[in-house]
C-alpha cells in the first residue's frame, strides 16, 4: 500500500548534470506506472530516488503522506529488480531470495515458507541450491523477481528488467509481470526504453526526455493523443511521419496543403484550427494510418513514389519518396510493389496529428484540452 508523490523534485549530480527537472508526479496506490524514455532521460534516476539509492537534490518525495527524502533504502519498504539482475554470485538461489528477509531478522520458518512459495510460483524450485552463475538469463530473471516478491513490499521497482532477455522470453516475461502485478496488489514502477513493453504493461505511462516529463497518461492516451512531436515519435514502429505545410480554410472546413497534396482535416481538428488559415503546421501521419486497398478520394490522397519495400512477415514497410522527403508506412503484404512505381495511398484522416512547427506541441491535444 503506497502512494508516491513527487513534489517539484530536482536531481543534480555532483558533476553539475541536471538529471531530473521539476518533477511533479503522483503514483497511485496499486498502480502499474511505466517510466518511458530514451537513455539519459532521467527515468532510472527517478526510480533510484524512489528506492532511496539517489538523494533528492531539492523538492519533496512522499510515500503516502510521509516525506522520505532522506530515508535510507532499507527504511522504505521497496523491492527492486535490476537490468543485470544483480544476484549475489556467492549465495545460492535460496539464499539470494531469502537475503532481504534475513536482513530484516525474520523468523527462519517464515523465510523458508516465503522462499518456497515464491519458488513454486516462479517454477524455480529445482534451482534453489544452484548458484546464479549456473543459471540461464531467464532463470536469473525469475530469481531476481522472487527476491523482490518474498519481501511483499509496498512498492515494486523494476529497472529495465527485461532488456537482457531474448525476444521470445521477453514477451512471455511481460505477461508474467503483468500477472504478478494483478496478484500482488501493490504499486509497480517500471522503467523501460521499449515502447512495446510500456504499452503492454502500463496502467499509466510517463514519457520523459532530458529530465523533463513530456506526457503522463494511459497507453491509449500516449499513443493516440501525443502532446508533442517527441512523444509522437517515440511510440510507433516505424515512427510517425512528419510533413510541414499550411492550413487552408475552405467552405467551412480546413485543409492541410503542401504542394499537390491536400488533405481534409477532420471536424475535431478543423474546429480547433478555425480561423487560422495560412498557419504553418507540421502534420503527423502514423505509419499504419494509410491504406492502399481502399480507393483514395480527392481529400485523402497521398501520391508518392516507392523507394523501398521491406517485408516483416505479417506486413511490409513501404518506404516512399514524397516531395523530397522520405516517409515510411506499414501496409498489407498482399500487394506487390516495386521501387520506382507510383503508389496511391488513402490517408486515414480521423487519425491525423497536427503540431506547431515552432514549439513541437500538438495543436489538437494541447495540455488540458483532451484530458
Amino acid at each position: 500500500m503506497a502512494r508516491i508523490q513527487f513534489n517539484k523534485v530536482n536531481k543534480r549530480y555532483a558533476n553539475g548534470f541536471h538529471a531530473v527537472k521539476d518533477l511533479n508526479l503522483e503514483i497511485r496506490d496499486k498502480e502499474f506506472l511505466v517510466l518511458l524514455g530514451p537513455s539519459g532521460c532521467g527515468k532510472s534516476t527517478t526510480l533510484n530516488m524512489i528506492a532511496g539509492l539517489e538523494e533528492v537534490s531539492d523538492g519533496e518525495l512522499l510515500f503516502d503522506d510521509r516525506i522520505v527524502n532522506d530515508a535510507p533504502p532499507h527504511k522504505r519498504d521497496v523491492a527492486m529488480v535490476f537490468q543485470s539482475y544483480a544476484l549475489y554470485p556467492h549465495k545460492s538461489v535460496y539464499e539470494n531470495i531469502g537475503f532481504g528477509l534475513r536482513m530484516r531478522r525474520m523468523d527462519k520458518a517464515e523465510i523458508d515458507r516465503r522462499v518456497r512459495d515464491a519458488a513454486t510460483r516462479l517454477e524455480i524450485t529445482h534451482l534453489l541450491d544452484s548458484r546464479p552463475g549456473n543459471l540461464s538469463g531467464g532463470q536469473r530473471q525469475r530469481v531476481a523477481l522472487g527476491r523482490a516478491m518474498v519481501r511483499e513490499p509496498a512498492v515494486f521497482l523494476m529497472d529495465e528488467p527485461l532488456s537482457n532477455l531474448d525476444a521470445a522470453l521477453r514477451i512471455s516475461m511481460r505477461a508474467e509481470i503483468k500477472e504478478l502485478h494483478r496478484t500482488m496488489q501493490t504499486t509497480f514502477v517500471f522503467v523501460t526504453h521499449d515502447q512495446a513493453e510500456a504499452l503492454t504493461l502500463a496502467d499509466r505511462i510517463v514519457v520523459m526526455r532530458d529530465g523533463v516529463v513530456q506526457q503522463i497518461g494511459t497507453p491509449d492516451d500516449i499513443y493516440e493523443r501525443p502532446r508533442n512531436t517527441f512523444v509522437a515519435s517515440f511510440l510507433g514502429s516505424p515512427p510517425i511521419n512528419y510533413l510541414d505545410g499550411q492550413i487552408d480554410t475552405v467552405d467551412g472546413g480546413s485543409l492541410f496543403r503542401r504542394g499537390d497534396l491536400s488533405l481534409r482535416l477532420p471536424p475535431h481538428v478543423a474546429e480547433r484550427l478555425a480561423g487560422q488559415g495560412g498557419r504553418h503546421v507540421t502534420l503527423g501521419i502514423r505509419a499504419e494510418d494509410v491504406d492502399e486497398r481502399h480507393q483514395a478520394g480527392a481529400d485523402n490522397l497521398l501520391r508518392a513514389r516507392v523507394k523501398s519495400v521491406l517485408p516483416i512477415g505479417s506486413d511490409q514497410y513501404l518506404g516512399v519518396h514524397f516531395d523530397k522527403q522520405e516517409l515510411y508506412f506499414r501496409v498489407g503484404k498482399d500487394l506487390a510493389h516495386k521501387p520506382g512505381e507510383t503508389v496511391d495511398l488513402a490517408v486515414d484522416l480521423s487519425r491525423l496529428h497536427v503540431f506547431d512547427p515552432e514549439t513541437s506541441r500538438s495543436l489538437i491535444w494541447e495540455d488540458g484540452a483532451a484530458q
Binding site: A51, L53, P73, H74, F82, A86, Y88, H90, R147
Partner: protein, 324 residues
C-alpha cells in the same frame, strides 16, 4: 558420399609438407618453453637450495671448493643453538677463540635473540595485516562505491604518497617517532609500516571493488543492508582473492622491511628478524652456516602464508590489473 573428390598428387604432397612444418613448429615451441622453464626454475630455486643445504653444513664444509650441494657431514648444531639458546656464555673478543677449531662451528652472541626477533616480526606483520584490512577495506569501498566530493582527489592523494621513496621519509619519520616517545617499540614499526602499505591496499581493493557491479550494492541496500552491511555481506565474500593479495603483500612487506626497522629499533625489545640477521654479519666472527640457518627460519612463515592462500594468489594479483 558416392563420388570422392579428386585431389591431385601434387596437392597431397603439399598438404603433407604443411602438416610436417606445423608439427615441427609445435615441437620447437614446446622445447623453447620447457628449456626456459628449467632455466627459470634453477635461477629461482638454486639460492634457496643452497641456503637450506648450507644451513646444515659445518663452517669448514661450507667454504670447501667445489661447494657441496649435498652436505657430507650434516649437522644440526646451528638449529640447536637457535632453539636451545637460553643462557649461553657470553662470547666476547677475548674468548672468541674458544670456538671449536676443528668444525669451525661458531655461534654469534646474539643467537638467543633470534626467536624473540622472529616473534617481534610476526607480531608486527600480523598487526599490520589486520590494521590494513580494517582501514583499507572501508576506505576502498567508500572510494569505489560512494560518490562524494573530492573522491578523485583523495585517490590521487593516497597514491601520491607511494611515489615518495621511503628513504626520503626516514628522517621525518624518525623525528615523529622520537617525539612521540615510541623509539624502540613495536608500535613505531606498526605505525610506519601502515603508512607504507595502506595506500597500496586501498589501491588494489579500489580496483577490485570497482570491477564489481554497482547494482549489487544497490540490490543489497534495497534488500535491507546499510552501507556497512552491504560491504560485509556482499562485497567482502566476493573480494576474497584481492583480500588475500592484500594479506600477502602487507605481511611480506612488514616481514622483510629493513630500513625503517634499522632506524627505530635498538634492543631485543623491538628488533625484527631482518635487523638481527644483518647484525650477524657484523659480529666478531662471521658464521655463514649459522646465518643460513637463521635465513631458513626467516623464510618459513612467508612460505606457510603463501601455501595457505595459494589458490587465491593468482586471481588476486591479476585482479587489480584487468577490470571485470
Amino acid at each position: 558420399m558416392d563420388t570422392a573428390i579428386q585431389v591431385s598428387e601434387q596437392s597431397r604432397r603439399d598438404a603433407e609438407g604443411y602438416r610436417r612444418a606445423r608439427l615441427r613448429a609445435l615441437w620447437v615451441r614446446r622445447m623453447v618453453i620447457f628449456v626456459s622453464a628449467v632455466v627459470l626454475s634453477i635461477y629461482v630455486l638454486a639460492p634457496v637450495v643452497w641456503l637450506v643445504s648450507s644451513s646444515v653444513q659445518t663452517e669448514a664444509e661450507i667454504t670447501s671448493v667445489p661447494p657441496h650441494w649435498i652436505p657430507e657431514e650434516p649437522t644440526l648444531q646451528n638449529y640447536r643453538a637457535i632453539f636451545s639458546a637460553t643462557e649461553e656464555e657470553e662470547i666476547t673478543y677475548e674468548n672468541r677463540s674458544g670456538v671449536d677449531p676443528v668444525s669451525g662451528g661458531f655461534i654469534p652472541s646474539t643467537a638467543k635473540s633470534l626467536l624473540p626477533a622472529m616473534g617481534n616480526s610476526f607480531i608486527v606483520a600480523c598487526a599490520v595485516v589486520v590494521l590494513n584490512l580494517l582501514v583499507g577495506v572501508p576506505a576502498a569501498y567508500a572510494i569505489a562505491k560512494i560518490r562524494f566530493m573530492a573522491r578523485n582527489a583523495s585517490v590521487y592523494f593516497i597514491l601520491t604518497t607511494r611515489v615518495i621513496p621511503d628513504i626520503a621519509l626516514v628522517v621525518p619519520f624518525f623525528l615523529m617517532i622520537k617525539n612521540l616517545g615510541l623509539l624502540d617499540t613495536l608500535s613505531s614499526l606498526i605505525i610506519t609500516y601502515l603508512a607504507v602499505t595502506v595506500p597500496f591496499t586501498v589501491f588494489i581493493l579500489v580496483q577490485y571493488f570497482e570491477g564489481l557491479p554497482d547494482e549489487l550494492d544497490k540490490a543489497a541496500r534495497v534488500d535491507g543492508c546499510s552501507r556497512f552491511q552491504a560491504l560485509i555481506h556482499v562485497y567482502l565474500p566476493l573480494s576474497l582473492p584481492s583480500l588475500v593479495a592484500v594479506v600477502l603483500f602487507t605481511f611480506l612487506t612488514s616481514w622483510n622491511e629493513f630500513l625503517l626497522a634499522l632506524m627505530f629499533t635498538q634492543t631485543e625489545a623491538s628488533q625484527t628478524l631482518p635487523i638481527l640477521l644483518a647484525a650477524f654479519t657484523s659480529d666478531f666472527t662471521i658464521s655463514f652456516s649459522f646465518i643460513n640457518a637463521a635465513g631458513v627460519l626467516a623464510i618459513v612463515p612467508p612460505v606457510i602464508v603463501a601455501i595457505v592462500f595459494e589458490r587465491y594468489i593468482v586471481s588476486g594479483l591479476t585482479a587489480g590489473a584487468v577490470k571485470g
